[in-house]
């Protein structure tokens, strides 16, 4: 057991248990807070994979923006329905079976791949992956088009969200 493996296993336990709490807990504010815990575990995994910038982006965007947005939405929409009655619909058994089948199928397909247990080579000294990422995002022969499409998508989503949620329409 190397330190990397111990960190990974602790993170995996955190992520899986928090994700299970997200889908099973009754109180939705608690579910959103468990989502924050799961997202934080994923950020640690990004750090373990030496993608430090993505770990930072995960904390800033997911935890800082998306999770807070969820908590606001829960508080804006709950009145008396919050903790009464079952929180799952009548098809939850089928859902559980489908989820287990998905996991089993994915694990089976992945385990038949011959690169399944390969380990990573060390990143060569002097490569700056953050610099590569920045250049790839704006270079015309790499990913500038998906990058601009993503920005237009964000603008459209912003305008659409403001329009849909604005109160004084009719």
């Amino acid at each position: 057991m190397t330190p990397d493996q111990i960190i990974f296993l602790l993170c995996a336990a955190l992520i899986v248990s928090s994700a299970l709490m997200v889908v099973t807990t009754r109180n939705l504010v608690h579910a959103a807070l468990w989502l924050v815990a799961a997202l934080f575990g994923v950020a640690i995994l990004f750090g373990l994979l030496q993608a430090g910038f993505l770990a930072l982006v995960q904390v800033v965007i997911y935890i800082g923006a998306i999770a807070v947005l969820f908590i606001f939405a829960v508080m804006l929409t709950r009145r008396e329905m919050r903790d009464k009655g079952p929180q799952v619909n009548q098809n939850w058994g089928i859902g559980a079976v489908l989820a287990l089948l998905t996991f089993g199928g994915l694990a089976y397909i992945l385990s038949s791949w011959d690169g399944f247990s390969s380990t990573a080579k060390a990143i060569p000294l002097g490569t700056d992956s953050l610099m590569m990422l920045g250049k790839a995002l704006v270079s015309p022969d790499a990913f500038v088009l998906p990058f601009e499409v993503a920005s237009i998508l964000l603008l459209a989503a912003l305008v659409g969200a403001v329009f849909i949620a604005s109160a004084s329409k009719d």
Partner: protein
């Protein structure tokens, strides 16, 4: 780096399945969106793991960033829709929103 890639792949498969269960089983529309967030995070773990274990292409990280942007857009529009629906019908239970059902 002594962790085989299989650990990351199995973890992300488990996270994806948990999110799928949340999407299929929860009644509350906001809880369904929470499940979708879990699934998107599972995808991101896979993308970054394949970037790290691959052959030096940066495309995995670029795709992860696009997924971040799409997730932010999806949550903003989805929660705006839920708030709008709640304002008109006073419910966020997905089963009750059957206006378009024949």
């Amino acid at each position: 780096m002594s962790i085989p890639i299989s650990w990351y792949l199995i973890l992300s498969a488990a996270l994806f399945s948990i999110g799928l269960f949340g999407v299929l089983a929860r009644k509350n529309a906001i809880a369904i969106l929470l499940g979708i967030e879990l699934m998107l995070n599972a995808v991101n773990i896979n993308l970054v793991a394949f970037w790290r274990y691959g052959k030096g292409s940066i495309a995995g990280q670029v795709f992860a960033i696009i997924v971040f942007a799409v997730a932010a857009a999806e949550v903003a529009v989805g929660l705006a829709l839920i708030i709008s629906v709640y304002r008109r019908r006073s419910t966020v239970i997905a089963d009750d929103l059957d206006l378009l059902k024949w």
